[in-house]
Amino acid sequence: MKITDLLVPERISLNRKLTGKTAAIDALISLHEKSGSLSDSAVYKKAILAREAQGSTAIGDGIAIPHAKSPAVKKPALAALTCPAGVDYKALDGKPSRLLFMIASPEDGDLHLEVLAKLMTLLMDGTFRESLLAAASPAEFISVIDKAEKSSDKVKSEASSKVASYRVLAVTACPTGIAHTYMAAEALEKAGERLGYPLKAETNGSGGAKNVLTAAEIEAADGIIIAADKSVDMARFNGKRLISVKVSDGIKKPDELIERIMSGDAPIYTHKGEMPSASQDGESIGRQIYKHLMNGVSHMLPFVVAGGIFIAIAFLIDSIAGAPQDANFGTNTPAAAFFKTVGGYAFNFMIPILAAFIAGSIADRPGLLVGFVGGYLATLGSTFAAVAGDIPSGFLGALFAGFAGGYLMLGLRRLLDLLPDALEGIKPVLLYPILGLALIAILMCTVNPFMGMINTSLTNFLTAMNNTSKILLGCVLGAMMSIDMGGPFNKAAYVFGTAAISSGNYDIMAAVMIGGMVPPLAIALATTFFGSRFTKEERKSGPVNYIMGLSFITEGAIPYAASDPLRVIPSCALGAAVAGGLSMLFGCTLMAPHGGIFVFAVVGNWAMYLLSLAVGSAVGMLLLAVLKKKKAN
């Protein structure tokens, strides 16, 4: 609460001449009354006089602060009056009073004491008192207070930041993250103050983590209290004394918890699982972006692997069953259809998950919604003209949705911090979701049409190319398949290929499919032969990409492409271009629009087709090896 929140120009009267204490009180009450802070000025005056009867509120140094709590006060307010000549307010030191403040307090709350303390801190400074008396207008009077208050707050916050070493830290969290999280944090902080151990409590509420503990604070603390009913990030507390209790214990017995930490009674916590990467403090922007990206990619990976393997199994079943290798390949037998459909459903989540966990990494929980929906809108390709969907913007669109959505929510959170604390509870359940959804929908519908335009112009471009060099066309188609792995480039090439099948040109589809097979294969080969270029996790999921690549499931490459697009995409695209060009050169043909190695039986000139695939994948692998930097371990 700031003093200037309570004091408005209408309640300030300067350079008054007053005959005595009664006149001063009447003048101050009338300021309150005029500005509407009282419901009954007579009742309030009675309270003021009762207080004065207990002893004068003129505290010396020419200052008087009459005050009263009364039900007749509508809302807390402060009135001020200057009387340069001085008025006899029956001060303890007998001196006349020149600065008079009157505090009107409603019955509840101890706001009274805080405002009084703050005002007093400022008034102890003689030059501050003189500048108040010298103020020419109520506005100037307020600006004098405002300036002094700001600089004293600044000193205070600087002082408290120097205290950086809290001896006790706490993290509070509850499943809904609206009330108990904050109640526990407050109870712990108050208990800490009471016991003389200043305490910092991080709240992992549904509005995201606030008052986050820094690595330096954790390092300096004696111990940590976790009062949470849901999981919190624990890796950072490795090696510290730690007690983990229910959130309700944080509310009910904060003193006991703090005493346990201070008595050294708490066990030392050893974190099981991976050690965290470096702390968040002072991370470079590039490093932060990489972290957000990897959060999305690592969450997406299971969907890619499971979905991809299921689709591959579907192809396998159909080829064992001897089903026709046509456009329905992979769904011709009921068992294959089961795997292909379920795998496809897992794939449907892939792009939204990527966007959601990028946004979630940036903006915490409020980011998830914008990421999920933004990613979904990217897979649909929604535009204002066709909200139900048009040309998908694929994983590139999802990267955009994740980052734009995440930073959007971060901005929104900052903006909504300006709202009163009373609204804290409805922010995560109402304000963030609704505003976030509106913003991301508008954003994606604005961006997606450009994807459609790219797609249309690419299709026109391909049609025009059809009559020139076939080999060049093969290169272009191959490259397009692997540029965005499901976005406008990929879709344009794929649709062009299927359209060619229906018009009897089977060589084009062959180049298209081989272009889509190269990226996962190139990556799989690179993880096998150049493992030092990949993280441990990336190496582990490398072999799966052999299956993905051979099954023409380009999506297998997305996690790798998403985590390092500038190096992975050009490598894959070039390898795919080589494969596509060679396929055309050898006059390979394909009549099925998908199926990978399982439809090689119907590929015309399949031996050469296999050779083209091998060469293209090898080119991609070598480029990856050259472009990607060696990882530390």
């Binding site: 505290i59 602060i65 004491l113 009084l116 303390a117 007093m120 103050e193 009471r194």
Partner: protein
């Protein structure tokens, strides 16, 4: 030097009236009387200092009485005794 830690028990804390009573009662002693609260030292004989310290109910405060020379030990003890008993008795508000 004499010192002791006490807990503020009156529900409103050190607001103006109890702070005034406290400061006035201690004014008669010659020794310095310091009140340590939240790591800050304030002059216990100054009403403004006391109010500015914003001492709430439940706070633990340390009272330190220090006279000029050894002669004053009796006075230090008396001042400390009076200050502590005032706070513990709720400054007339409990």
């Amino acid at each position: 030097m004499q010192k002791r830690t006490v807990k503020v028990v009156n529900p409103q804390g050190f607001h103006m009236r109890p702070a005034g009573v406290f400061a006035n009662a201690l004014a008669k002693y010659e020794c310095d009387i310091t009140l340590r609260h939240n790591g800050r030292d304030v002059n216990a004989k100054s009403l403004m200092n006391l109010i500015a310290a914003c001492i709430k109910c439940g706070s633990e405060i340390e009272i330190i009485c220090e006279g000029k020379d050894d002669k004053g030990i009796a006075e230090e003890k008396a001042a400390l005794e009076e200050a502590c008993s005032m706070i513990e008795s709720g400054l007339g508000e409990v």
